[in-house]
C-alpha cells in the first residue's frame, strides 16, 4: 500500500491557498450576507455574523428601483452584441487565418485598437450617437442616446478585436486539408465554411462568445455615459443605489448578487474551455 507523505511544504502550500482564497472570496461572502440583512443590521459595529435573513433588499431592488428593466436591457444588449461579434468576428478571423490579407499588418492594426482606453473614445461615441439618434435610420435601429442599439454597437466595436484575435488561433488549428476535401466533395467556399469549419471551431467560438458576453455584461463606462433611464444596464443600475440620501447598502448588495449570478454560472460550467481559450490567446497571439 502506498502512503502519501505529507511534507511541511505541502502543508504550507495548502495553508497559503486557503488564506488567498479567503482574501478573494470574503468580499463576495460579505456581499451575499449584506444582501440578506435588514437595513439596521447592515452597518452595525461590530458587524453581525448571525442574523435573521430577509429578502426585503431584493424586493426593494426590483420594485422600487426597476431593476428588472436593467436586467432585460443588459440581456438584450449583451446577447445582441455577442451575436454580432461572433458573426463578424468569425468571418474576419477565418479569412485572416487562411488568406492572411495585409501580411499580418491588418491583423496587428486590429489588435492595436484593443489597446486604446475606452475613456478616449467615449466622448466621440456620445456625440456620434447623439446625432445619429436624430436621423431616420438611427431612430429605426434605436441608435440614439439612452437607447439599446447604441450600446450594442459600442460593445460590438469594443469586443471585435479581441474576438478576432482569439478565434484566429482556433481557425488556424483546423487543418486546411479538411476544407480542400470538402471542396472536392462538391461544396463552395461558403458552404465549406458553414458545414465544416464552423462546427469544428465550435468550442473556440463558444469560448469567444462567453468572453464577449462577460465583457458586455460587466461593462460600466459606456453604459454610464450613453444611457439615462430607458436603456440603463445592470452595472450602472447597481451604482444607482448611491443616492443623495446615502448609499443603500442592502439593495445595492442584492442587485450586485443578481448581477454576478448568471456570469458565475456560465463561468463555472465552462471553466475548462475558458482556460484553454485564454492560454491559446496568450501563447499564440
Amino acid at each position: 500500500m502506498q502512503t502519501q507523505k505529507v511534507t511541511f511544504a505541502d502543508l504550507f502550500r495548502h495553508l497559503l491557498m486557503v488564506v488567498i482564497l479567503c482574501i478573494f472570496l470574503f468580499p463576495i461572502y460579505w456581499m451575499v450576507m449584506t444582501s440578506l440583512k435588514a437595513p439596521e443590521e447592515v452597518l452595525t459595529r461590530p458587524p453581525t455574523f448571525v442574523f435573521e435573513p430577509t429578502l426585503d433588499n431584493y424586493r426593494y431592488a426590483f420594485e422600487q428601483a426597476d431593476f428588472g428593466l436593467f436586467i432585460r436591457n443588459t440581456v438584450v444588449i449583451a446577447g445582441l452584441s455577442t451575436l454580432l461579434v461572433i458573426a463578424f468576428g468569425s468571418l474576419a478571423s477565418y479569412s485572416f487565418a487562411r488568406y492572411n490579407p495585409g501580411d499580418g499588418h491588418i491583423m496587428f492594426f486590429i489588435l492595436t485598437t484593443r489597446m486604446m482606453p475606452g475613456i478616449a473614445v467615449v466622448m466621440p461615441f456620445f456625440l456620434i450617437f447623439r446625432d445619429l439618434g436624430k436621423t431616420g435610420i438611427g431612430q429605426f435601429l434605436a441608435l440614439g442616446l439612452d437607447q439599446v442599439g447604441s450600446l450594442v454597437v459600442a460593445y460590438t466595436v469594443f469586443n471585435l478585436p479581441f474576438a478576432i484575435w482569439l478565434m484566429y488561433s482556433f481557425f488556424q488549428d483546423i487543418p486546411s486539408e479538411l476544407e480542400n476535401s470538402a471542396r472536392l466533395d462538391g461544396y463552395s467556399r461558403l458552404q465549406v465554411f458553414l458545414r465544416v469549419v464552423l462546427p469544428l471551431a465550435a468550442p473556440g467560438i463558444a469560448v469567444t462568445a462567453i468572453f464577449s458576453l462577460m465583457f458586455a455584461w460587466n461593462e460600466f463606462l459606456f453604459g454610464y455615459i450613453l444611457t439615462r433611464d430607458a436603456a440603463r444596464t445592470i452595472t450602472v443600475g447597481v451604482s444607482g443605489f448611491q443616492t443623495q440620501q446615502g448609499i443603500l447598502w442592502g439593495p445595492l448588495a442584492a442587485a450586485a448578487v443578481v448581477c454576478i449570478l448568471p456570469m458565475l454560472g456560465v463561468a463555472l460550467m465552462l471553466q475548462r474551455y475558458m482556460v484553454r481559450g485564454l492560454t491559446f490567446g496568450a501563447v499564440r497571439g
Binding site: 476535401s181 466533395d185 463552395s188
Partner: protein, 377 residues
C-alpha cells in the same frame, strides 16, 4: 483524358514542380512515385485545383481547368492524413459528397451501406472518426472518395501509413475497387512495391521533375537514368564506377580503383562501337541488380569479375550477399546453399546482359540491349 502541360509551381523562389508533362488515359491507373519532398502531393493538388500552377495548364478531355474551382472539377481525393470530418459520424462522412449533389435520403443510405459493406466498415457507421483505428480511418477516407462517380480519383499515399499486413491486403482491394470504377486514378506513393503492383503506368518524380514516365516494366528494365534505377527495385541497384581503356581497336571497361588487378567488365560490340563514335561521357557507371547476378566460387569465362564477400544476410530461401569489387559494394542474391563466409573470394558474372550502363547519370545501355548514346555529351 487528364493532361498536365508544362506545369510549374513555385513557392517563393523554390520550385515545387517544374515543367511537368503528364497524361492519363481514360480509366488508367497512374502512379506518381518518388521520395519525400519530390513534389508528388503538389502535383495532386494542382490536378485537384487546390493550388494554382505558376505556369502551365491542367486539362481534362481537352478543356483547360484553369478557372475551374475544385468543387466543379468532379474529382475525388483521398488525403494523406485522411482529412475526415471529426464532427461527423462515419455515416455522415461517407454521405458528405452525396449531400452536395442533392441525392435523396434513401438513395444516400443505400450507397453508404453499399460502400461500407465493400470496405467492411459497416459496424462503425455510427462512430466518430476519433474513435477509429488508423486502418479504419483510412478505409473511411477511401470510401468517401470512392462513393461517388468522379472523373478522376486522386489518392495521396492512401495506404502508406498502415502496418505491413493491412497494407498488403488493401493494395489488392484498392486495385479491385478502382478497376470496378473504370475511372482515371492518380495515385501517389513513395513505396516502390505499391507503385509497381498498382500502376498501369508510373511517373518517377524527383526534385519536381518527372524522371521517367512509362509502364512498370519499362521503368524496371530500362530506367532512364541512375535516379530511377536506384529508386526502383529491392534490394536497390548497386553501382560501380568504371573507366574505359582502349582494347584491340574498341574500348573496354574496368572498375575504377582496381588498376593493379583490373576487374574487367565486358562491353558488347554494339555499345563499344557507339561509345567509340560518340563523345565519351565524363563519368561512366555500371548498375547491376542483385537478382540479375550470380556468384561463383571459381573463375569461369562468365564469372570473370573478382570480388570479396563483405556480409551475408539470410532470407531463408536465399541469401543477399554483399561483396566488394575494388572500392565498390555490390549486392547479389545467392542461393542459400552456398555457405559463403566473410572475406571469401568469389567471382561475379557482370556481363552485357546483366548491367545497365550510365554515362553522366543518363542511361546508355540496358541488358535488353537498347543502346542510346547521347550525342555530343
Amino acid at each position: 483524358m487528364l493532361e498536365l502541360r508544362l506545369v510549374t509551381k513555385k513557392y517563393g523562389t523554390k520550385f515545387a514542380v517544374r515543367n511537368i508533362n503528364l497524361e492519363c488515359r481514360p480509366s488508367e491507373f497512374v502512379v506518381i512515385f518518388g521520395p519525400a519532398g519530390a513534389g508528388k502531393t503538389t502535383t495532386l493538388n494542382l490536378i485537384a485545383g487546390i493550388t494554382d500552377p505558376t505556369s502551365g495548364e491542367v486539362l481534362f478531355d481537352g478543356q483547360s481547368l484553369d478557372r475551374v474551382p475544385p468543387e466543379h472539377r468532379n474529382m475525388s481525393m483521398v488525403f494523406e492524413n485522411y482529412a475526415l470530418y471529426s464532427h461527423l459520424t462515419v455515416f455522415n462522412n461517407l454521405a458528405f459528397p452525396l449531400r452536395a449533389r442533392h441525392i435523396s435520403q434513401s438513395e444516400i443510405r443505400r450507397q453508404v451501406h453499399e460502400i461500407a459493406e465493400i470496405l467492411q466498415i459497416t459496424p462503425f457507421l455510427e462512430r466518430r472518426p476519433g474513435f477509429l483505428s488508423g486502418g479504419q480511418r483510412q478505409r473511411v477516407a477511401l470510401g468517401r472518395a470512392l462513393i461517388r462517380d468522379a472523373d478522376v480519383y486522386l489518392l495521396d499515399e492512401p495506404i502508406s501509413h498502415l502496418d505491413a499486413k493491412l497494407r498488403h491486403r488493401m493494395r489488392g482491394e484498392l486495385k479491385a475497387l478502382c478497376q470496378r470504377k473504370q475511372a482515371t486514378v492518380v495515385h501517389v506513393t513513395h513505396d516502390y512495391r505499391e507503385a509497381m503492383s498498382l500502376s498501369q503506368r508510373m511517373a518517377v518524380i524527383n526534385k519536381g521533375h518527372i524522371m521517367q514516365f512509362g509502364t512498370p516494366e519499362e521503368i524496371y528494365h530500362t530506367p532512364a537514368n541512375e535516379f530511377v534505377a536506384s529508386f526502383v527495385g529491392e534490394p536497390p541497384m548497386s553501382f560501380l564506377d568504371v573507366e574505359l581503356t582502349q582494347g584491340a581497336g574498341l574500348p573496354e571497361m574496368f572498375v575504377t580503383g582496381t588498376e593493379q588487378q583490373p576487374a574487367r567488365i565486358k562491353l558488347d560490340d554494339e555499345t563499344s562501337i557507339a561509345l567509340s563514335r560518340g563523345a565519351v561521357p565524363e563519368q561512366l557507371r555500371v548498375g547491376v541488380r542483385a537478382t540479375d547476378l550470380t556468384i561463383s566460387t571459381t573463375q569461369t569465362p562468365a564469372h570473370a569479375v573478382p570480388a570479396e564477400v563483405y556480409v551475408v544476410e539470410t532470407l531463408g530461401h536465399r541469401d543477399i550477399v554483399t561483396v566488394r569489387v575494388g572500392p565498390h559494394m555490390v549486392k547479389v542474391v545467392a542461393s542459400a546453399g552456398m555457405s559463403l563466409n566473410v572475406r571469401d573470394v568469389v567471382w561475379l558474372d557482370i556481363g552485357p546482359d546483366t548491367y545497365h550502363l550510365f554515362g553522366d547519370e543518363q542511361a546508355i545501355a540496358h541488358p535488353a540491349r537498347k543502346v542510346r548514346v547521347p550525342e555530343g555529351v
